[in-house]
């Protein structure tokens, strides 16, 4: 399985992602620069976290208008697997590959901490090694992670299983207190209708080794490569 890790000016989780794929998983991975307008020969494209183009105008929008942005959209439309983490999630919503938008956190703070998440859909290639309802712990690090989608669209997304992860407490209850950024319906991760594009605000690539004190990030990668 061949991975691509997208690199935009301001990406800063690109090396973490590359490291996990190459050194932890032992898989083939290449960096792809934002000036490159095609993505051929890859099975999975990862759009990593960071502050692409300084988050100017809106987080993710400038990256979405680059040659690589267009190539990601084309790759996704061909059915390729696309994973967007944090800023990568923001870029995928700006590309309209995923529904909704990510707004400034409700409490106006940059949040850098661990959160609990409930796995709502384990039928994706990204999540199939989880059980539905699993409660997992991952770190978040974002200032603009408040997921928003209009009510009507949210209802359709629920029906189609597009809500993949929800913020919850340690017991798996989706309370207001466990919602760090004010996202609608505690949403932390969503997929497209085809299930081949997945975006999430938490960082599995920072939580993929037991040594770091996390045991769940690696499961996303194992789901992908199994």
């Amino acid at each position: 399985m061949r991975f691509a890790v997208c690199v935009f000016p301001g990406s800063n989780c690109d090396y973490d992602t590359y490291y996990v794929i190459r050194d932890v998983l032992g898989k083939d991975v290449s960096f792809v620069d934002y000036t490159v307008g095609k993505l051929h020969g890859y099975d999975c494209v990862v759009v990593p976290g960071g502050f692409s183009f300084g988050d100017y105008l809106r987080a993710g929008v400038i990256a979405s208008k680059t040659p690589l942005g267009n190539a990601i959209a084309e790759f996704a439309h061909r059915g390729g697997l696309v994973l967007g983490i944090c800023n990568g999630f923001q870029i995928l919503t700006e590309l309209h590959l995923l529904p909704g938008a990510l707004l400034k956190n409700k409490n106006r703070r940059f949040l850098c901490k661990d959160v609990y998440l409930r796995v709502e859909n384990n039928s994706l290639l990204f999540t199939r090694k989880f059980e539905r309802g699993d409660v997992i712990k991952l770190p978040i690090a974002h200032g603009e992670g408040r997921y928003y989608v209009p009510e009507e669209e949210l209802r359709l997304m629920e029906e189609r299983g597009q809500v993949v992860l929800r913020y919850c407490d340690e017991d798996g209850q989706t309370t207001e207190e466990s919602n760090p950024n004010g996202s609608v319906s505690n949403i932390a991760g969503v997929c497209n209708r085809g299930g081949n594009v997945f975006g999430l605000m938490p960082h599995p690539e920072r939580a993929s080794e037991d040594l770091l004190g996390y045991h769940h990030g690696i499961i996303f990668w194992h789901s992908l490569i199994s």
Binding site: K65, E94, G100, A101, K104, K106
Partner: protein, 70 residues
């Protein structure tokens, strides 16, 4: 010519920045009902430039923002 695109968060959507400014003004004795904080993009363009297209395709996310061209 110079064209201004004023971008604001959609009404009804929580605007944390606007809320912070509102709270500041209330605490300083000004009775404001609502505050929204947006951004201003000033473009220097030819007369026939399609500013609406620029706004809708690049500058504004219509899902969460509204805009005025001046």
């Amino acid at each position: 010519m110079k064209v201004k695109v004023l971008i604001l968060p959609r009404k009804g959507l929580l605007d944390p920045e606007g809320r912070a400014v509102k709270e500041m003004l209330l605490e300083n004795g000004f009775s404001v009902r609502d505050v929204r904080v947006g951004k201003l993009v000033e473009l220097e363009v030819e007369e026939d430039t399609d500013v609406k297209a620029i706004a809708e395709r690049f500058l504004v996310n219509p899902l969460v923002e509204e805009y005025i061209i001046e």
